[in-house]
């Protein structure tokens, strides 16, 4: 009968399309995989892009135990294994800018940093480096903030960033059309995890994830405060964090960014994590302790204008959990 022939033709076409399609898409994959196998690739293999929906997702965990909250916030995004692959070099960049005790909320909570380091190592990271280019004297900042001890105990390598040229690499800032020294370690790592603390800032109103990346800049950073938005958008094109985890457990609500008195600190009891650095910052501005909108903070707005992330929280899926 002709019907059989018909069927077999359809089968043939279907199978042919399937095999052809597989070959068309699969062969390059296969070959690139083979190519990447032996001769080392010119650039370090970036960790796989997280699924599309992750970039539009942030997780917010409330609770009383910063360490557990951090672990849960990472888990909500699919676990650290989504970001950190085996033998990756991870840079965790907390805010250690000031010589202040953790209770004064001028520096990132050491428990949060330690938890992230542990999660990275658990996910198979080769080394986890923790550092900041501090504003006060680095030895004392590292010690007083408690981050050096906590990170070392968790198994991280704590680095000191000096002032010598060899620590930095000049990177072009596309919009400002200048070059600026950026800490080499942050450029050469596989995964960059930004761990800021949410706090008040005298000039930019709030300092969150994007502003925390300033700790990777060398040189005299003071002058960039004049055009903070532009500079920080440029910086975000040069160093793009793969994950931002904002420590909003204790937040400094006035006299930032240094604080110094317990009266200035409020308990927000939140950890905010996400892939999109702008979205995470945008959410943190709306915390009731600050009572702002993302559009109030110039550098967050400028970053979204430059298509570096989503500022509109309505377009973001927010996973809220409580411990």
């Amino acid at each position: 009968m002709k019907k059989n022939n018909n069927c077999s033709r359809r089968e043939f076409l279907e199978k042919g399309a399937l095999i052809g399609g597989l070959g068309f898409f699969g062969l390059p994959l296969l070959t690139t995989h083979l190519l990447n196998g032996e001769p080392a690739p010119p650039e370090k293999p970036a960790p796989d892009e997280p699924p599309a929906d992750l970039t539009k997702t942030i997780s917010v965990v409330s609770g009383d135990d910063p360490a557990k909250m951090t672990a849960l916030a990472i888990e909500s995004l699919g676990g650290m294994a989504t970001f950190v692959k085996k033998d990756n070099v991870v840079v965790v960049k907390p805010n250690i800018a000031w010589e202040r005790a953790p209770e004064l909320a001028a520096t990132t909570n050491p428990e949060v940093v330690a938890t992230i380091v542990r999660e990275c190592l658990k996910a198979g990271a080769k080394t986890v480096k923790v550092f900041d280019r501090t504003c006060n004297e680095s030895r004392r900042c590292y010690r007083t903030s408690g981050i050096e001890a906590a990170a070392k105990e968790a198994g991280a390598e704590v680095l000191f960033i000096g002032e010598r040229e060899s620590f930095y690499k000049e990177m072009p800032f596309p919009k400002k059309k200048v070059t600026w020294p950026i800490v080499k370690e942050a450029l050469e790592c596989d995964v960059l995890i930004n761990v800021p603390i949410a706090k008040h800032h005298g000039l930019s109103k709030l300092t969150l994830g994007i502003k925390n990346l300033m700790g990777l800049m060398g040189g005299k950073r003071g002058e960039i405060h004049k055009e903070l938005g532009l500079y920080l958008s440029d910086l975000l094109t040069v160093v793009k964090p793969h994950l931002t985890i904002i420590d909003a457990y204790r937040v400094l609500v006035s006299h930032g960014p240094t604080g110094g008195k317990p009266e200035y600190v409020k308990m927000a009891r939140k950890i905010i994590a996400g892939v999109d650095p702008v979205a995470v910052d945008a959410y943190a501005t709306t915390l009731p302790e600050f009572g702002l909108t993302p559009y109030d903070i110039e550098h967050i707005f400028t970053a979204s204008e430059n298509k570096l992330g989503e500022i509109d929280l309505k377009k973001i899926k927010i996973i809220e959990k409580t411990i």
């Binding site: 000096g162 010598r164 005298g202 000039l203």
Partner: protein, 517 residues
Amino acid sequence: MISLRRLSQIIFIGLFIYFLLLTVDPHSPVNVFFITNPLLALTTILAGRTLVILLGASLIIILSALLLGRVFCGWVCPLGTILDVFHKFITPKICLEKKIPAGLSRNFPKIKYLLLVLILSAAVLGINLAGWFDPITITFKFLALSFYPALNLIIKNIMIDRWGWSGLSQPLENVGILDRNEVFFQDAAVFIIIFLIILGLIFIQRRFWCRNLCPLGALLGLLSFSKLLRLKIGTDCLTCQKCVKTCKMGAINNEIKILQEECIQCFACVPVCPVDTVSLNFKPIPVLTNQSETGFRPTEISGLPARRSFLLAALIGVASAPLLSARGGSAFGGKNNLSPAALTTTDNNVLAILRPPGALPSEEEFMNRCVRCGQCLKICPTNGLQPLFLQSGLYGMWTPALMPLIGYCTYECNLCTQICPTEAIQPLEIDVKKKWVIGKACINDRLCIRCGACEEHCPVPEKAIKAVWDEYGEKPLRYYVECDLCIGCGLCEHVCPVKPVRAIRVYHTGDKKCFNR
């Protein structure tokens, strides 16, 4: 005994360097070489007109000199050890001492006694010169302020950066040989020059410094008049002069006579004697018996200079007081204020120099108490404390000053107040130190670019620098210093990006330029 002495020298120079490397935070008892130094103690007590309890530890060295003589010089002093080592490895072949006729080479004038008298007589009038001549402070300043930064520079910039020996940095940082920050001390070349001169003098004569120049050695030599451990030479001496040639201090002269105050108890002469008649022990010489019965040559003579030169030195010391003092002629109690140093002072009689927190409020008292040991400079974590050269007159040489362009006074730190051996920088609790006013910051509005870095960095919790905002609260119109809150730590000046003159500067409150008072 000689190997025992060498062991002791190695141990003490090791301790000296170990304590030097420990002179960073956290605080540990690292100033032990300074608080046990009798010369510093004596001048501080005389010139500062005060008893510093910490310096009571120098009684140990004084006691050791009374009982054992100059063991400090021979067994402990780091400078002496360095000179010995250099002599051993470098100079024997080219030492000029052998070329100078023996009689001449042993007769350099003993300036050290005159120097001691000069220092002490100046101290009686309130002028502290010990820090310029004391061997411990000279060695410390050379090692900590010149050698250490230079070593850091070489290791970091050449070995690690250029040769790529990056594995070196971590272990060296851990033992303190490398500083994590960049270290720099202005005019530190002076210390290299001074040290090289002292070192170079051993080409002329072994331990030239110790023999002829060291005022601490002179003090210990004078104290050792009653020492029990005495050098003795028996009557069966062959006058072969082997001990004379061995002695690095010239304590035995060509006629085999002993200058007890020169002997540093090094025991080098004892084994070289072919008839074993040179001895260094506690056995007393029997008195009131004649020479042949005691078995010892009556060989002790005094190497002290003539009484007239002592008087001259004392006179110079007295004369130095009005020349150097910040108070000028009023060092004698008068009202005459015409000395060069006094002319640079302001109406408040304050040299417009930012002193470390806790420094005695009167500039004059501070300079009289400070022994220029350099420990506060070494311990300052931000490198902001710098040795002055001539900025505050000759007398202020090597006193510490805060230079905000180089470093600032970090808010949570009181290390310099803890380490000062003479309490010229008084020990402050951290809460007191946080309120200590070093100076006041002043903003030059015409230079200010409104970047806000000074406001951001201001460590005072209430923020001593505040902004005037425009009507929308968007842009700062100008910044101003809240005078009552400012402690003058200098961090704002340190971070100000305006070049070449900073838009915000810290001035001493006695300075004319300081309009925030």
